[in-house]
């Protein structure tokens, strides 16, 4: 049996090539059936996302899997063999397993650690399972890949740090307040990013949103989006003692919140922390506000700096994740080797059982007939003998299967017991 994986990703192919090779979710069942119908293909999975298209197959030993997939792709997609060769990567056996585990663990993603890829791989697995394209060995391989991904996420911090500005704002709010449950937000001005940040904060537990704008009608309109309360622009500073998180993105050309205003606000809040997010350019909030105790002011560059630091931290965690993946590949390979010696183990058991049954027959013919109790005792005793004899070689076969130099020991065991290949 051969395991073969080939495909294109954001690292090897531009979007023009990726879109040519993409398989929409609804077309997957037919494509999988066609692929499985190719001579020698036993199992198949197609993973198709916006950043990668990958086909993984298992074939019988005499088949050329690379040629099979190339033919399948050129038959099904409007792509020339030359273009395909220029952009695809191919992995076989151990390398294919390693690649699959890295993809599942989001180590090969455009944004390392993003969680979507695991869901997309599960969609591919479900489609293959439903069409019967995955029904044996590859089933356990993919299940293992999901477990590896889970292990990587739980044992490393690869997916913990925000890598977008709006999520970074939510993460900072969590670092300041702990839980966001019951927190109050105020949005000053309108803007896509402030809307997005407010939406994330709301989803994370913030209960109330105040919206203010120089144009009051616009404030009413935006407040409706969050089931919030519109506030007149002239009143927003006086409302600030009630507000935990302020998102400023108005088009004002001068500071709308100065240090002395915030000094009064924080005194009125009895020093409870306040988080100010200034994503306006030019800035809306006096930078000196950050000097006040218990006030945390972040402008757009500060948020970007947090995102950059998070990405650096993710890369450090990715190194740990790579180690985990390598460890899991070794385990998988050891299991595969055990699978490889399974016919030898079965052969050995059958041979010993044959010898036992023949010898028992001889004894019965020569000294029989026996009572039922005697026959049962004879069966039990002879079975116990062959089990004890077989235990040593079977254990050794399993141990040696996981070792690179184990081939010689396995061959020796086969010779000793006159087992056929």
């Amino acid at each position: 049996m051969k395991l073969f994986l080939t495909g294109v990703s954001h690292k090897t192919a531009p979007v023009e090539v990726r879109e040519c090779l993409a398989f929409p979710e609804e077309s997957l069942p037919k494509a999988l059936k066609d692929l499985q119908a190719c001579p020698g293909v036993t199992e198949a999975v197609i993973l198709s996302t916006c950043n990668r298209v990958e086909i993984t197959i298992t074939t019988e030993d005499g088949v050329d899997p690379q040629a099979t997939i190339d033919t399948f792709l050129t038959d099904h997609k409007a792509i020339s063999p030359d273009t395909l060769v220029a952009h695809v990567y191919r992995h076989e056996g151990r390398e294919a397993i390693h690649h699959l585990f890295r993809v599942a663990a989001s180590l090969d993603s455009m944004v390392v650690g993003e969680p979507q890829i695991l869901g997309q791989l599960k969609v591919a697995y479900t489609a293959a399972k439903e069409t019967g394209a995955v029904c044996g060995w590859m089933d356990s391989l993919l299940t293992r890949a999901f477990n590896v991904a889970k292990r990587v996420r739980s044992e490393t911090g690869i997916g913990q740090m925000a890598v977008s500005v709006s999520y970074a704002a939510v993460e900072l709010a969590r670092k300041i307040f702990g839980s966001l449950n019951g927190r109050t937000i105020m949005i000053v001005g309108a803007g896509k990013m402030s809307e997005l940040a407010a939406r994330h904060l709301r989803r994370s537990g913030a209960t109330h949103v105040f919206v203010t704008n120089r144009t009051y009608d616009r404030a009413i309109e935006m407040a409706k989006l969050f089931q919030g309360t519109p506030v007149e622009y002239s009143r927003f500073v006086s409302m600030l003692p009630e507000v935990d998180i302020l998102i400023a993105s108005s088009g004002a050309t001068e500071y709308i919140l100065r240090k002395e205003d915030m000094h009064r606000v924080i005194a009125a809040r009895r020093n409870k922390p306040a988080f100010l997010i200034d994503i306006a350019v030019p800035r809306n909030i006096d930078p000196g506000v950050n000097d006040l105790d218990n006030v945390f002011l972040y402008d757009i560059d500060d948020l970007q700096e947090v995102v950059n630091a998070n990405l650096r931290e993710r890369m450090k965690e990715a190194d740990r994740a790579e180690e985990l993946v390598s460890e899991e590949v070794e385990r998988m390979m050891a299991r595969l080797k055990v699978v490889e010696v399974t016919p030898t183990i079965v052969g050995l058991q059958e041979q010993l059982e044959g010898i036992r049954a023949a010898e028992v027959d001889k004894v019965k013919r020569k000294y029989g007939p026996f009572t039922q109790q005697q026959e049962e005792a004879l069966e039990a005793a002879t079975r116990a003998i062959i089990n004890k004899v077989a235990h040593g070689p079977i254990s050794e076969l399993r141990v040696q299967a996981g070792k690179p130099e184990g081939v010689h020991s396995i061959a020796l065991i086969k010779r000793v017991f006159h087992l056929q290949d």
Partner: protein, 273 residues
């Protein structure tokens, strides 16, 4: 002090103790249901306190500020009256968290001016001292937790202010979680320390008769308890957080360590008996 005067003062201290209970509930459970009852009892306690002072003044035919105990009683009474005025005029309920325990402890100390008989049973004496030591150790442990959490708060706050996340930012808990831990451990620690001070005062009073208050190690204990009370007050009323609160907590921890050293002979007393 005259016998009747001390009895009136003990009644006043008993009524003030409701105020202490209110402060404890406010710190530990964040509940202020008892405030009205505590304030009423506090007012009534002030009336009995006044009777005690007048009684003492009439009997001794002088203003009762001739010794430490009388001065403490007078001082506690004046603080109580001033606090009642502030409550009537400005309704500053949060101030009570500071004043109630202060007036109670001062009044309690003032009641311990008249000598009583020696310990009737050495087992009771040792048990009393053991309770005091256990309370102090638990209070100290809570204070250490408060100080450590305050320092972590300081580090995390600095990380957030610098806006360039480093290792501390990722490893340390959120400010909100640390703040909650500080509030709870500080409240529990203060309650334990206050109970320890009450246990210690009564033990020392019986052990050393009226001379107990002039012992320097006892003065250190009261000073430390006073700094802890100020910390609790600043935290609950002014919402002190961050740098100032951390410095204050570490200071209180330092005074507590000095107090511990000053009382290191207590364990030996217990072992000797």
């Amino acid at each position: 002090m005259a016998e009747m005067s001390v009895i009136w003062l003990r009644v006043a201290a008993a009524l003030y103790s409701l105020g202490l209970l209110h402060s404890i509930l406010m710190l530990v459970r964040r509940r202020e249901h008892l405030f009205r009852v505590a304030l009423g009892a506090f007012g009534l306690g002030a009336v009995f306190h006044f009777v005690s002072i007048v009684d003492e003044g009439i009997l001794s035919n002088r203003c009762p500020i001739a010794n430490t105990y009388e001065t403490l009683s007078m001082c506690a009474f004046l603080v109580a009256i001033l606090h009642l005025f502030v409550q009537w005029r400005y309704k500053m309920a949060s101030l009570s968290a500071f004043i109630f325990p202060l007036v109670f402890v001062m009044a309690l100390m003032a009641t311990l001016g008249n000598p009583v008989g020696a310990w009737t049973n050495p087992v009771v004496r040792n048990a009393w001292l053991t309770v005091h030591i256990v309370l102090v150790l638990l209070g100290f442990a809570a204070l250490v937790v408060t100080a450590v959490a305050s320092l972590l708060y300081l580090f995390q706050e600095r990380e957030l202010k610098n806006k360039k996340p480093r290792k501390f930012y990722y490893r340390l808990p959120a400010l909100g979680a640390l703040d909650d831990l500080i509030s709870k451990s500080m409240g529990v620690g203060f309650v334990l320390m206050t109970l320890a001070v009450i246990a210690a005062s009564t033990w020392a009073f019986i052990e050393h008769k009226t001379a107990w208050i002039s012992q320097p190690d006892i003065a250190i204990s009261f000073f430390t308890w006073g700094t802890y009370l100020v910390l609790v007050f600043l935290r609950t009323t002014a919402g002190w957080r961050g740098r100032k609160a951390a410095i204050m907590t570490v200071t209180v921890l330092g005074f507590s360590a000095i107090t511990w050293v000053a009382h290191s002979r207590l364990g030996a007393i217990l072992l000797r008996q």
